[in-house]
Symmetry: C2
DNA sequence: TAATCCGTTCAACGCGGATTGAACAAACTG
DNA sequence: CAGTTTGTTCAATCCGCGTTGAACGGATTA
């Protein structure tokens, strides 16, 4: 049976949202479908409801699983995989922080650190003039300070959500 | 004259950062170049330093201008456009909030509102069963509550940066 | 007016990632 | 064992977006 207009619109909204965030559109469609679904859904139902291939449904659900945005459900005596949405989006963000956002942040801090180091070696090898060296150093250090503030802010925001 | 290794690395870092955020790589390169530049730079200098076309330099700088990430500078008796980086990234975020993030948020709130409205009309037209209607309503309302929390949080984060 | 200089615009190209059908593997069923 | 059911993998394709050279327009100068 076809979806009611509201749910169709929801699918479109989440699809566009995902696209805007640089994530695959199909994952957004699936999440929107599950978010307003009264029942858990199997792979084939998902593919048919959305008019996408079973392959897309498979890869999409696995991505959503990796992001902890959907949960897998098994029914007794049924080999099929069923899925339901993790409707608490704040919880989705929280469970992705440690595994996704935090590593990104730490990486960027390491990179700025290595930039400061390479700046020192540039200075010693004379690859940069004194004035330029000073300016680079100041700006890189200001960048490092911003990163620290962000790293302090993120866990805070996480809790307030 | 060529850039020192540190600045080359900086260009690469900001380029990848921009790419990761779904923004054009060239804009990131330009920002990285300007961020550690002791002088303001003209369009041709930018293009040549980065090995990109003048067209890319033009579109890239205009995007960065729109994001308030660079400033345009004029020299007396010189028709060329010069650019310098807005090095206070927190300020960049702040000046983009009202014109970019806030409208997005408000849009998404309107969309959820219209979803709730269309749900009501679905109910009246009998396009949705009572049970499904209840579930949809609850989840959409929970979504609206999350949006409210986000909208309260963003200005806060803005100030703490 | 002709000749430069600068910046923007635009059609064409290329690249990276999303999507898909088909082949495949694994677990049942008869 | 042959035949289903179900999910995954993979090469091929599609598609959107960034990039570019070339053409253009405006401003300045000779």
């Amino acid at each position: 049976m076809p979806l009611c207009p509201t749910r169709l619109e929801m699918v479109e909204v989440t699809a566009r949202l995902c696209q805007m965030l640089g994530m695959p559109r199909s994952a957004g469609q699936i999440y929107g479908l599950l978010y307003l679904s009264p029942h858990v859904l199997g792979l084939d139902e998902i593919a048919e409801s959305l008019g996408i291939s079973k392959a897309s449904a498979s890869t999409g659900t696995r991505q959503l699983l990796a992001w902890h945005a959907v949960r897998q459900v098994w029914k007794q005596g049924d080999r099929k995989d069923y899925f339901e949405a993790q409707t608490d989006l704040a919880e989705v963000l929280r469970s992705n922080y440690a595994g996704f956002f935090r590593p990104k942040l730490e990486n960027s801090q390491r990179r700025v650190g290595s930039l400061l180091a390479s700046l020192e070696s540039d200075r010693k090898s004379g690859a940069v003039e004194r004035e330029e060296y000073q300016l680079c150093k100041e700006r890189l250090e200001s960048l490092a300070r911003l990163q620290n503030r962000v790293q302090k802010l993120l866990p805070l925001a996480e809790n307030l959500l």
